[in-house]
C-alpha cells in the first residue's frame, strides 16, 4: 500500500491552508473522498438521475439498479448473509432505528440494556430516550480497556462500540456477542469507527445489529446503514412512516412492505448509496487488511514520537489499538492546541468528541485527537509532532 499514490486520488490534498498543504488528521470525524466516489455520484446525476422503486422508464430502472446493487455491495462488504441492509441517514439514525423499532417493543420495564462509558453520545442518548428499560454501563479501565459487562438474565440488549472513537480501544466483540447471546440478549455493534478501518464480518462476529456511517469510509454525507439479522427484523417496527414502506394504504389503516423496504421511507438518498458503493469499491481495491495495517503503523509511530514529549499524556491502550490517538498536552486546552496546529494546516479534533461520560471518566473536559486513514503519511505524523512542540511553546505548557 502506497499512501503517497493513494493521496493523488483525493482532490482535497491540493488544498493549501495558510500556504501549507492540508494535513488532515480528523478522519475519525469524517473522511476525505477520492475522485472515484465523486465521479460515481456525478455520473448518477448526469446520466441516470430519477426516483427508485417504482420504475417503468429506462433511467429509473438504472437508478433502482444502482441503489439496490449498492445495498448488495454493503451486504457483501460486512459479510451480511442472514442480514438485511437498511439505508439510513447516518450511524446515529441506524441506532435510533434499533432503539425505537426493536428495543421499544422488546425490552420491557425492569429489563436492561447494557452500554458503556466509552460510547459515543449516539450510542447512549437513544437508549436513554426509551421508556421502561433500565440502562446499565460497563466502566472503562485507566488503560482504556472495557470493564466487565453488567449483564444478567434480564438483559435484552448489549450495545457497544467495536472501536472507541477516543481511545482507539478495539473491543473483543466476538466474545461480547457470545456472552450476550448466552445471557439471552442481542448484540448491537456500533461500527462507526471499525467498518471504515478493518474487515468487519457480522456473521463471524455474531452481530444482531450493526450500525455505521458512509461518510467516515470515503463515502458521501447523508448515508449510513443498519445491518440487522433477518429474523430480528421480523420483530421490529418502523422508525419512520410514509411512502415506500407500505404494502397498502387505506383511510382506515396501512399494511407494511417487507424488510428492508419497511424500514426506509420517502425518497432515499440515492446518490448517497451510489457514492457509498463506489467508496466500498475503493476500499476493497486497496484492501481492508492493508488499510488496517497502515493505520496501526502510523498510530504506533505517533505514539512513539508524541510519547517522548514533555507533559504529554496519551489516552487509551498501549497495544492492539486502532488509528485514533487522543492526548492532553499539559494543562493546555485542546481548542488552543488545535488552533495552533491549524495555523500550520494540521487539522485535528478538539473537544469532548461526543463522549462526555468518557471525558468525565478520565477527569478532563476535553482532549485533542489525531486520527489516521489510508491517505496519511509518516511525514504527516512528523509534522504533527513538530506542531505540538510549537503548541507547547506558544501556550507555555
Amino acid at each position: 500500500m502506497n499512501a503517497e499514490k493513494i493521496r493523488r486520488d483525493f482532490p482535497i490534498f491540493k488544498r493549501r491552508i495558510n500556504g501549507r498543504p492540508l494535513v488532515f488528521l480528523d478522519s475519525a470525524s469524517t473522511s476525505q473522498k477520492p475522485v472515484q466516489v465523486l465521479d460515481a455520484m456525478e455520473d448518477f446525476y448526469r446520466n441516470s438521475n430519477s426516483n427508485v422503486h417504482r420504475p417503468v422508464y429506462k433511467i429509473s430502472e438504472e437508478a433502482t439498479e444502482m441503489y439496490e446493487s449498492a445495498r448488495e455491495k454493503v451486504a457483501r462488504f460486512v459479510g451480511a448473509r442472514d442480514h438485511h441492509v437498511i439505508f439510513t441517514n447516518n450511524c446515529t439514525e441506524a441506532i435510533n432505528l434499533v432503539a425505537r423499532g426493536w428495543a421499544q417493543r422488546n425490552v420491557k420495564r425492569g429489563e436492561s440494556i447494557v452500554s458503556s462509558v466509552m460510547e459515543h453520545h449516539s450510542n447512549i442518548v437513544p437508549w436513554q430516550s426509551l421508556k421502561g428499560a433500565t440502562l446499565r454501563f460497563a466502566d472503562v479501565g485507566d488503560s482504556g480497556l472495557l470493564g466487565d459487562l453488567p449483564m444478567d438474565k434480564k438483559t435484552r440488549l448489549v450495545s457497544l462500540t467495536h472501536v472507541s472513537n477516543v481511545l482507539g480501544t478495539v473491543n473483543d466483540v466476538k466474545k461480547i456477542a457470545k456472552e450476550a447471546h448466552e445471557n439471552g440478549a442481542l448484540f448491537m455493534m456500533d461500527g462507526a469507527q471499525s467498518v471504515p478501518h478493518m474487515k468487519v464480518d457480522v456473521g463471524k462476529i455474531g452481530c444482531d445489529f450493526l450500525a455505521f456511517s458512509g461518510h467516515k469510509m470515503l463515502g458521501p454525507t447523508g448515508i449510513g446503514a443498519l445491518v440487522v439479522r433477518k429474523d430480528v427484523a421480523d420483530d421490529m417496527d418502523p422508525l419512520l412512516f410514509g411512502s415506500g414502506m407500505i404494502r397498502e394504504v387505506t383511510l382506515k389503516g396501512t399494511t407494511f412492505a417487507d424488510a428492508p423496504m419497511k424500514f426506509e421511507t420517502g425518497t432515499p438518498n440515492i446518490s448517497g448509496a451510489v457514492g457509498l458503493s463506489a467508496a466500498i469499491d475503493y476500499l476493497e481495491k486497496v484492501g481492508m487488511r492493508n488499510i488496517e495495517r497502515h493505520g496501526r503503523s502510523l498510530t504506533e509511530i505517533a505514539m512513539r514520537s508524541l510519547g517522548g514529549m514533555d507533559k504529554m499524556k496519551i489516552y487509551g491502550p498501549r497495544k492492539n489499538r486502532s488509528d485514533v490517538l487522543s492526548f492532553s498536552l499539559g494543562d493546555a486546552h485542546s481548542h488552543d492546541v488545535a488552533t495552533i496546529l491549524d495555523d500550520r494546516g494540521i487539522a485535528v479534533r478538539s473537544g469532548h468528541h461526543c463522549a462526555q461520560p468518557l471525558m468525565r471518566r478520565f477527569g478532563v473536559g476535553s482532549m485533542t485527537r489525531a486520527s489516521f486513514y489510508l491517505y496519511n503519511t509518516v511525514d504527516e505524523v512528523r509534522q504533527l509532532a513538530e506542531g505540538l512542540g510549537e503548541s507547547a511553546r506558544v501556550l507555555k505548557v
Partner: protein, 126 residues
C-alpha cells in the same frame, strides 16, 4: 426495444384472458398484491388426485401481468402438482415468449409468485 413486449399474443391474453373469473368452491385460493403498483390477482383452483383440475383467476393489472396470469392459468390446468413444483421463473419467461424489460419483470412475476403458492397449498391438500 420494450415495444416488442406487446406482441400480438400477449395483447390477446390481455384483452381476452383465459380462465378469468371465479370457481364455485375452490380448494385453494391465493391473492397477492404488487405493493409497488397496486396490481393484484387472486387464483382459485380445484385439486384432485394430485392434480390441478380446474383454475380461475380474477383481479386487475397491466398487459404483462394479465397475460402472465392468463398463460399460467392455462399452463397449470390439468398438470400434476409434483411437476408444477419444479416450475422456475425461466419457464414462465419461455411461456411468455417475449423479452421482459427489467422494469417490468415484477409485473410478469406477480402471477408466477401466486401460482407458486397455489401449488404449495395444493400439495398440502393431498
Amino acid at each position: 426495444m420494450s415495444l416488442d413486449m406487446y406482441a400480438e399474443e400477449i395483447l390477446d391474453h390481455y384483452r381476452n384472458p383465459k380462465n378469468f373469473g371465479k370457481l364455485d368452491k375452490p380448494d385453494v385460493k391465493v391473492r397477492e398484491l404488487n405493493p409497488l403498483c397496486g396490481d393484484q390477482y387472486e387464483f382459485q383452483v380445484k385439486v384432485s388426485d394430485g392434480k390441478i383440475t380446474d383454475v380461475k383467476f380474477n383481479g386487475d393489472g397491466c398487459a404483462i401481468s394479465t397475460a402472465s396470469a392468463s398463460i399460467l392459468s392455462e399452463f397449470i390446468k390439468g398438470k400434476k402438482i409434483s411437476e408444477l413444483k419444479k416450475m422456475e421463473q425461466k419457464d414462465l419467461l419461455n411461456l411468455l415468449g417475449i423479452e421482459v424489460s427489467p422494469a417490468r419483470i415484477k409485473c410478469a412475476m406477480l402471477a408466477f409468485n401466486i401460482v407458486k403458492k397455489v401449488v404449495e397449498e395444493s400439495g398440502k391438500k393431498k
